[in-house]
Symmetry: C2
């Protein structure tokens, strides 16, 4: 791979409406605005580019692909600001001094190399999920971040939706929800023939964790989120995972077990209809939602919360049932994610703060559970003890 | 236990409004009306008594308890018709020739004895769930039924709600739902201190299957219902079941696995908030409801069905999502159950039909899975092959 020079593009002169232009006129465009380089032009980078454009404290400063042409086309298609630097190699982008951070949507197999190099080049990192093939790889990235004072956060967008905070308030309410006892969740999608043949998420050398790393990541994160990131003691994969010819997981599930008796189970698949259920049951309350990863609507989303529900006297109906709670958001959840990432980076840059450890710790725990599920599958569904 | 004579009670002269009186004035009160004796005055018998009163083709003809006083009080409290026969022993009721059928709400431990005897006395049987402690016991009951030409049906009420039929139509629709791939369900309730100390459902000598036999029964039945009663190949209990000091299950779960890759998991508990989730995911559709056992409302219930849902182009929302379907019922589901039972009995009585095998076969399969879950728990969570 050769390093191409940065090319200043004036491609955008004809654009009259871009999110970034809207943003530039805002009063919140301050010195703390974080300049982000986009390292790769994956499909998901379109959504995150829009999110960077929308976030009040972030700005797309550069984009790289393995070819300049692809990067130019991508920048144009995604309303990149006119001063964006465009690179035909990832190395070149990382050498560009005028960016604070990079967003890395590359295939998982490339994360260790490029995230580590980004850290060495003093770029903070927003890293697509799954973070790595395994926790050992992620620890290499973490080491590089630590050695260089780098903030890292993974791209689990729904964590940053204001709805998530509202749901957490319910789960934390001892009077309304009580003590968490069990979780059931599934994220499935019907990937289609072309995806199952060609997508990087079914290629062992690219995103070898398949459905577990893609949709399963969200189930595992949601479970950990609900239990305040207390690791389970044991993970057992459910029998009957479906693998493709190359051994990549297309469908699987697992149960997670905590010392105190809490129990969670999840199912994830590329082979079923789009479904995103999450149910957490406490001693006195139940939380449920059916769009936990991508809300049905961008600007308002909902969940149902039931508390102290019970039957009528003859058990022919319920005296009270769950009620729906709607939560509005000023920004799409992925833009909230970018805003949070840029806030942390800004805090390091402007205030000399240390990198936040909360987000990478959550990433690492998610990866630990992924590893355990995979180890359980590989061992013939033996229970795997989770060791931090 | 001594046999008390039948006591005709004129207790009800002061009653001006009873369901049964309403019914007697109806034109559908025909010769085919099935006379049912209620064998025991358990709490659930109140709900089923009301259901018999409501069903157009059934009539409460007798009630028995171990004491006459209890039976009298129960009959009075439950608007029994004035001509009801009241017995101070179960044997006496079974010897009363003028009843066609019995409803048996006795503790599970008494099912073999009393259901077998009822069959021998040529009484058709509506049997509370769980049917038995194990399939061997249930087979003894089935043998008695077969030897005597007796109809048996278990008391799984929700099966008879018109909603269930509507949901089945969705699950059977290859265009809208496709091929069933996975099911997640849970039925939990917070039983409370008194229940956990005193209820028959936590006593090993009465309802020794505990939460598995009570709330777990419904989860297992719902799973079997969704797969058209195709038995799974393997059942594996989830780790971490909670047992009381006497060894009765208070909380457990399992996964069920079919040859063709279908997967189901369930969780049932007496230790968590009232929750009744059921989600079935097919290749192109998803069914969900949160009150599958006891609908929130008696006269109208709902489910959500999603078909070919997908994301918008940027995956920032859904272009289509699940829609809610409401289903009205003229009768509460438990009265629909009695109506169906009475219809089958009437068909035998009036038309010389043979007992229907569909319902007992469903009962037996449910019991087989219960047995497998229990065997898996007892074996330390080994997979159990299900053999019909």
């Amino acid at each position: 791979m050769t390093t191409s020079p940065a090319i200043f593009q004036s491609l955008f002169s004809q654009q009259t409406q871009t999110h970034s232009r809207d943003k530039e006129s805002r009063s919140d465009m301050t010195e703390a605005t974080i300049k982000i380089g986009v390292l790769g032009c994956a499909d998901i980078a379109r959504k995150v580019s829009r999110a960077i454009n929308l976030a009040p404290n972030a700005h797309i400063a550069a984009v790289a692909s393995r070819s300049v042409e692809k990067a130019v086309a991508f920048a144009k298609a995604n309303n990149y600001p006119p001063d964006v630097k465009i690179y035909g190699s990832y190395e070149a982008l990382l050498d560009y001094p005028d960016i604070d951070a990079v967003y890395i949507p590359l295939p998982t197999s490339l994360h260790v190399k490029w995230a580590s190099l980004a850290a060495q080049k003093k770029k903070h990192i927003l890293l697509e999920k799954p973070a790595s093939f395994n926790v050992g790889e992620f620890d290499q990235i973490l080491e590089a971040c630590e050695a260089n004072g780098i903030q890292i956060m993974d791209g689990t967008m729904w964590m940053h939706n204001p709805r998530t905070q509202k749901m957490k308030e319910f789960l934390s309410d001892k009077d309304s929800f009580g003590e968490l006892k069990s979780i059931q969740t599934c994220f499935t999608l019907s990937a289609g023939e072309d995806f199952l043949k060609n997508d990087i998420r079914v290629k062992p050398d690219l995103d070898g964790l398949g459905a577990l790393g893609d949709v399963g990541w969200y189930c595992i994160r949601a479970i950990l989120w609900a239990v305040d990131y207390e690791l389970p003691k044991t993970v057992v994969a459910l029998r009957g995972p479906v693998l493709n010819e190359a051994g990549v997981i297309l469908s699987c599930g697992a149960s997670l077990h905590w010392e105190d008796g809490k129990l969670a189970s999840f199912h994830c698949s590329f082979l079923s209809h789009l479904t995103m259920e999450f149910t957490a049951v406490g001693t006195v309350g139940t939380l449920h939602l059916n769009d936990f990863v991508v809300p049905v609507q961008e600007k308002e989303s909902s969940f149902t919360a039931g508390s102290k529900c019970w039957f009528n006297e003859m058990v022919t109906g319920w005296t009270s049932t769950s009620s729906q709670h709607n939560v509005a958001t000023d920004l799409p959840q992925e833009a909230c994610m970018v805003r949070e990432f840029a806030r942390l980076v800004g805090n390091i840059k402007s205030n000399g703060a240390k990198p936040d450890q909360t987000w990478p710790s959550r990433t690492r725990k998610t990866q630990l559970i992924l590893d355990a599920v995979k180890a359980s599958i590989d061992s013939g569904f033996e229970p795997i003890e989770v060791v931090e």
